[in-house]
């Protein structure tokens, strides 16, 4: 298992979380207003975390070479 596996997995999870908050009609956790509405700000936050995880994965992949 390379060092890049964990950040890459995190990036995938964050992308899934970002998409999840864009789906209307399902109950979203950790929101202060209507739980079934679309939560763009949450999606942006998780997309940002996904980008950071990808950057981390890139650094980690280079470190293992």
């Amino acid at each position: 298992m390379t060092r890049a596996f964990v950040p890459a997995l995190l990036a995938v999870l964050f992308v899934l979380a970002a998409v999840f908050y864009l789906i209307p009609g399902v109950t979203h956790a950790l929101v202060s207003d209507s739980p079934t509405a679309i939560h763009v700000k949450h999606a942006i936050l998780f997309a940002g975390l996904a980008v950071l995880s990808l950057v981390w994965a890139r650094f980690a992949a280079n470190a293992t070479r």
Partner: protein
């Protein structure tokens, strides 16, 4: 909200956001103390608040534009290379990223809940007094710290520069910034105290505090920009733009003053101010309740 009230709030925001005296505490307390009937949670007030935040963030970006340009260029090069280098701007950029993550996460998920719980004037005045204790205790603890090996004694304003700040230190400062989610606790006060406890000098601690505040204040403003386009937001749009400009000018002057002040100054005067204003507010609000 009248024009005079809007201009007053803009000046108050521009000054209190960067001085370590809590902007939320002041914007909750002062309108209440002078008898203004403002509903700061109403949808019509939101665009005005957003404009004030964007004005403050723009002032910080203008003041530190050389730092930000160097940091952004260094970060892009670092990501493109996929390796860390010894470039100080790149290092500072990653420290800011590390420090921003805890604030962004905690702020995002807790801000509205904490505001609903504690954004009452009485709670804000109590937290303002606590803010004074945090700064006073931070200064005292800083002066008692033993000097790091080979470094000048941390006591007068001797200490370390930003080059000594570690990833862990940046995250700790970011966590300290999250304390400002409580109305009355200052963002810059808590982050400067955290920097001092990590043996930084006042000036680098303040510089890191202001750089760390910029992305958070800017993102908080930008995420709410759509509120300008709602029917509730339109009536205050002109006032919001003027308020944002005024907040920006006062924030620029504030950061200019503070960066000079922290070359020789301490947090103690701000602690005394927070005690005095917090205690006065507490007395006035308690008497008014009876």
């Amino acid at each position: 909200m009248s024009v005079v009230q809007a201009l007053w709030l803009a000046v108050l925001q521009g000054v209190s956001e960067l001085f370590p005296i809590s902007s939320i505490g002041h914007t909750v307390l002062i309108p209440r103390l002078i008898g203004w009937d403002l509903d700061q949670q109403s949808p019509t007030f939101l665009p005005f608040l957003v404009a004030l935040h964007l004005g403050t963030a723009s002032a910080l970006l203008c003041f530190f534009w050389r730092d930000w340009l160097a940091i952004v260029v260094a970060l892009i090069r670092s990501v493109a290379r996929g390796k860390l280098s010894t470039d100080p701007d790149e290092r500072l950029g990653w420290l800011l990223v590390f420090g921003t993550i805890p604030t962004a996460l905690l702020g995002f998920f807790l801000e509205s809940r904490l505001k609903a719980l504690f954004a009452a004037p009485l709670a804000a005045s109590v937290f303002l007094i606590c803010n004074g204790f945090i700064m006073f205790a931070g200064e005292r603890l800083r002066r008692r710290q033993p000097a790091a090996a080979g470094q000048p004694r941390a006591g007068r304003d001797e200490g370390l520069g930003l080059e000594s700040l570690t990833w862990r230190g940046a995250v700790l400062i970011g966590l300290a910034q999250s304390a400002a989610l409580l109305p009355g606790i200052s963002r810059s006060g808590s982050t400067i105290v955290a920097g001092l406890l990590l043996k930084l000098r006042h000036e680098p601690a303040a510089r890191f505090s202001f750089l760390l505040a910029t992305p958070v204040i800017l993102a908080a403003g930008l995420l709410e920009v759509p509120s300008f386009l709602t029917p509730e937001g339109r009536p205050l749009l002109g006032l919001a733009i003027v308020g944002g400009l005024l907040a920006g000018v006062t924030a620029f002057l504030s950061v200019k003053f503070l960066m000079r002040y922290f070359q020789i100054g301490r947090l103690d005067p701000f602690a005394y101010y927070c005690w005095a204003f917090g205690a006065l507010s507490l007395i006035v609000l308690t008497v008014a309740r009876r």
